[in-house]
């Protein structure tokens, strides 16, 4: 699957994150290799979304360090000092990380196609025509070729989430982060979104998915990470972790979700 020589896309070392007195992440370590699909599961408040948001610098970490694509994020290293990056430098680092949110967060004043082309045109400086052609191809890839002129308010939740995936892909990211992408969807719409994500995984995209869909995790994930109370309790190959979890907390969580 992955040659061990390639450096990981994400390398998080001893990451800590506090909100006031609450330790959201306690020295979390995670590596994600190129082409790998990692699902993060765990009860709510366990820090899974926080970890994802730290990788994309939507949250600033309070301890440890994260490398994305072998580049230290958030800081510039000079000798033994770490300098905070500027707004523009952080924005540049985010370009290679795609993110899909639980609540879609499509831009409501743009059509589906404009949502997809906004990043390439405004951030990457791609010519509009070229971005639109690629945007149409991406919308077709997520099964929404006929919706390019629809505004988000005219789309179902599942369709909005698929546009959001296309919007993330339009930046040609090295990695896609999914923050509970199906939690806000009506049950009958979950399947379409998951199948788009499955195709994406098959195409070799590196993905980190925070999810409650254990079926999806079993089928698509290479590795599953179980988190609880800001710590990684257990991580392993998808089938092993789901069918024979070693830790008591993992066992309890899996049987509770299955019930």
């Amino acid at each position: 699957m992955n040659s061990p020589s390639t450096s990981p896309i994400v390398r998080a070392i001893d990451v800590c994150k506090r909100f006031g007195n609450f330790d959201a992440l306690k020295q979390v370590n995670l590596e994600v290799d190129a082409g790998e699909v990692v699902c993060i599961i765990g009860p709510s408040g366990s820090g899974k979304s926080t970890l994802l948001r730290c990788i994309n610098q939507l949250e600033q970490i309070d301890g440890g360090a994260i490398w994305v694509n072998a580049e230290l994020i958030g800081y510039r290293r000079e000798g033994t000092k770490l300098y905070h990056l500027t707004d523009a430098e952080i924005a540049r680092q985010r370009q290679c990380v795609g993110m899909v949110f639980q609540r879609f967060n499509l831009f409501p004043h743009f059509t589906a196609l404009a949502n997809v082309t906004e990043g390439p045109v405004q951030v990457l400086g791609e010519p509009l025509k070229q971005a639109q052609a690629r945007g149409r191809a991406l919308l077709a890839q997520v099964g929404l070729a006929d919706k390019e002129n629809a505004y988000p308010s005219e789309l179902s939740g599942g369709q909005q989430q698929r546009v959001a995936i296309a919007r993330g892909l339009a930046m040609r990211p090295e990695i896609m982060l999914f923050d509970e992408p199906t939690s806000a969807l009506d049950p009958e719409l979950v399947g379409d979104v998951l199948s788009v994500m499955k195709d994406l995984a098959t195409s070799g995209m590196t993905m980190v998915v925070v999810t409650h869909e254990l079926g999806f995790a079993r089928e698509v994930a290479d590795r599953i990470v179980f988190m609880d109370q800001g710590e990684i309790i257990e991580a392993g190959l998808a089938r092993d972790l789901l069918s024979s979890p070693r830790q008591k907390r993992t066992q309890d969580f899996i049987s509770a979700v299955r019930a």
Binding site: L58, D87, A91, R94, M99, L106, H109, T111, Q122, S153
Partner: protein
């Protein structure tokens, strides 16, 4: 759709004790429907029409020389007043919006000095009456006889503080205090997820404000700012007190000479109404532009 006979038979067979009515009693789909009579509405309409008729009659028989209204409606002095009113309203509103955006962003800043200064600005200029502020600017020469910046300029305050400048500063600065609150509400109305989504596709803060946040905030900002613009048009009449020859001032100057007080006030009212109508019309276009993608709101109300 009315239930079929067979369904009913099945239901009544199960719940026999409750359905004492014969099956025919449910077949009412072919009955004529008589709409409800809205007697209250009819009564209200009659009353309002009567009041309107009385009002029209009062103005028709009242001691108003309508000839004078027609005569002065397009008089050169009134036209100059109209132009000055529009000029002051637009300039003061522009100043107000610029100050409003500036102080709204300052208010939301993490820097405590900036946000406190913004709070003080709103407190001070929203707190004092507009007329009083106009008078202060107009009489500034009494305390600061000269306005100077060492090496750049040195001017007599009375020369700088013309009625127009005093009106512009007085109205524009107090408008900025109101507008900054409107802009702040607009910025706060944009969902946090929008900021995050914009950041996630690699936007810098400025680009995010320009492309994603402001266009959405405008949807909230435009209706009250349109409202305030209309208020500003009428507020310019205060500048007549400091001898700015806007419309009311022009009308007054004429009626001091010919004593046709009400006729000239009607002339001024007509022009104010015209300006306000044009503005309202324009506002609906701007609202529609910024309402892209959320047109469904009207239907859900």
């Amino acid at each position: 759709m009315p239930p079929s006979n067979t369904d009913l038979a099945g239901v009544s067979a199960i719940s026999a004790p409750q359905s004492a009515l014969p099956a025919d009693a449910y077949k009412i789909a072919h009955y004529t429907i008589v709409p409800r009579r809205h007697y209250g509405r009819i009564l209200a309409t009659v009353l309002i029409l009567a009041v309107l008729a009385a009002l029209i009659r009062a103005f028709a028989v009242g001691d108003i020389e309508w000839r004078y209204v027609g005569l002065f409606l397009t008089a050169p002095a009134i036209m100059t007043g109209l132009a000055n009113t529009i000029l002051l309203a637009i300039c003061a509103m522009l100043l107000g919006v610029v100050l409003g955006v500036l102080f709204a962003v300052m208010r939301l800043s993490k820097n405590p000095v900036l946000s406190t200064v913004a709070k003080l600005y709103v407190w001070l200029f929203r707190g004092a009456p507009a007329l009083l502020q106009l008078l202060i600017w107009f009489n500034l020469a009494l305390i600061f006889p000269r306005i100077a910046f060492p090496g750049l300029f040195d001017l007599r305050t009375v020369d700088v503080m013309t009625p127009f400048v005093a009106g512009l500063l007085g109205l524009g600065i107090q408008q900025g205090a109101y507008t900054s609150e409107v802009v702040r509400a607009g910025l706060l109305s944009v969902d946090r997820g929008q900021y995050e989504a914009a950041q996630a596709i690699g936007m810098t803060r400025l680009r995010m404000l320009r492309r994603i946040v402001m266009p959405q905030a405008m949807r909230v900002i435009v209706p009250p700012v349109g409202n305030e613009f209309i208020g500003m048009v009428k507020l310019t009449s205060l500048a007549s007190v400091i001898q700015y020859s806007e419309m009311l001032h022009a009308a007054q100057t004429i009626y001091y000479a010919n004593s046709r007080v009400l006729e000239l006030l009607i002339v001024a009212s007509i022009w104010y109404l015209v300006i306000v109508s044009v503005l309202s019309f324009g506002q609906s276009f701007v609202e529609r532009y910024f309402g892209r993608g959320v047109a469904a709101v009207r239907h859900s109300l």
